[in-house]
């Protein structure tokens, strides 16, 4: 199963809709609760990163019996130093975004903690592609 969503930069009114649809789809096909929880964190944070930082992008979820792959590809400013961006508390979000409770430098660390595998490719001035894999582990085993 593949779900794909177009995300517009600075569109805070629809922010979170893609993550909500991914959550419903994962619950519908019976993925483990923990898999859904982690996938929701990755999907929402990746979606918000596009809304906050990029001009536009796509959020794609590919669902397999043993895993969920979430890909966020955007056209935007890119990340000059990925290891710095992965540090908790580091953020380039402007003050008005922070006032909304975003931009605390927790997004990418949250994604990293919830991912079994994470790849980030970024070109400054062009855009960023993030690919996260969340394994669907059977609970209680």
């Amino acid at each position: 199963m593949k779900l794909e969503f177009v995300i517009e930069g600075m569109d805070f009114t629809r922010a979170g809709e893609a993550a909500a649809k991914i959550k419903k789809a994962l619950q519908l096909v019976g993925m483990e609760v923990e898999t859904v929880r982690k996938s929701v964190i990755v999907a929402y944070e990746a979606e918000m990163n596009i809304v906050i930082h990029a001009r536009s992008g796509t959020l794609t979820a590919r669902v397999y019996p043993d895993r969920v792959e979430i890909e966020a590809a955007d056209e935007g400013p890119g990340i000059p130093d990925i290891s710095l961006a992965l540090q908790e508390g580091y953020s380039t979000a402007p003050p008005h975004i922070r006032e909304m409770g975003f931009g605390a430098g927790m997004g990418l660390p949250n994604i990293q903690r919830s991912s079994d595998e994470l790849h980030i490719d970024s070109k400054v001035g062009i855009g960023t592609k993030l690919t996260s894999t969340i394994m669907n582990r059977t609970s209680g085993v």
């Binding site: 805070f12 009114t13 922010a15 979170g16 809709e17 993550a19 909500a20 959550k23 929701v40 964190i41 929402y44 944070e45 918000m48 909304m100 409770g101 975003f102 605390a104 927790m106 997004g107 949250n110 903690r113 919830s114």
Partner: protein, 116 residues
């Protein structure tokens, strides 16, 4: 008095959403104003205490499957926040208390109910 009623009375809550029944089961609570923190650390069934009143709090509440939203300091929620909360069936309240006071009162109630 049931749990919802105890909380509504003690925290002086005003239910702002219309046509949303208090059907969701309260399992705990979380207090915070950083959305990423709430998304990562709140648990399903938690009541969320926050100062924010924009609609993105509803998106987070729905994703985590929280039992309700409490906006502190009597800040009025944005109209589209209320509309989204109504659609999602998430009860949204306001309280005159600040985050600290509201959290303290709620902690006491949940302790009395042996929930924490």
């Amino acid at each position: 008095m049931n749990l919802w009623n105890s909380i509504i009375k003690t925290l002086e809550l005003t239910l702002q959403t219309k046509n949303v029944d208090l059907e969701r089961k309260i399992r705990g609570a979380y207090c915070g104003d950083l959305l990423s923190d709430v998304l990562a650390h709140a648990s399903p069934g938690d009541l969320w205490i926050t100062i924010h009143r924009h609609r993105n709090i509803v998106a987070v509440a729905a994703l985590v499957n929280l039992s309700g939203l409490i906006i502190t300091g009597n800040r009025p929620p944005d109209p589209d926040t209320l509309e989204t909360a109504g659609k999602e069936g998430i009860p949204l309240f306001t309280t005159p208390f600040n985050n600290f006071q509201a959290a303290g009162k709620l902690y006491k109630i949940l302790s009395d109910y042996s929930m924490i």
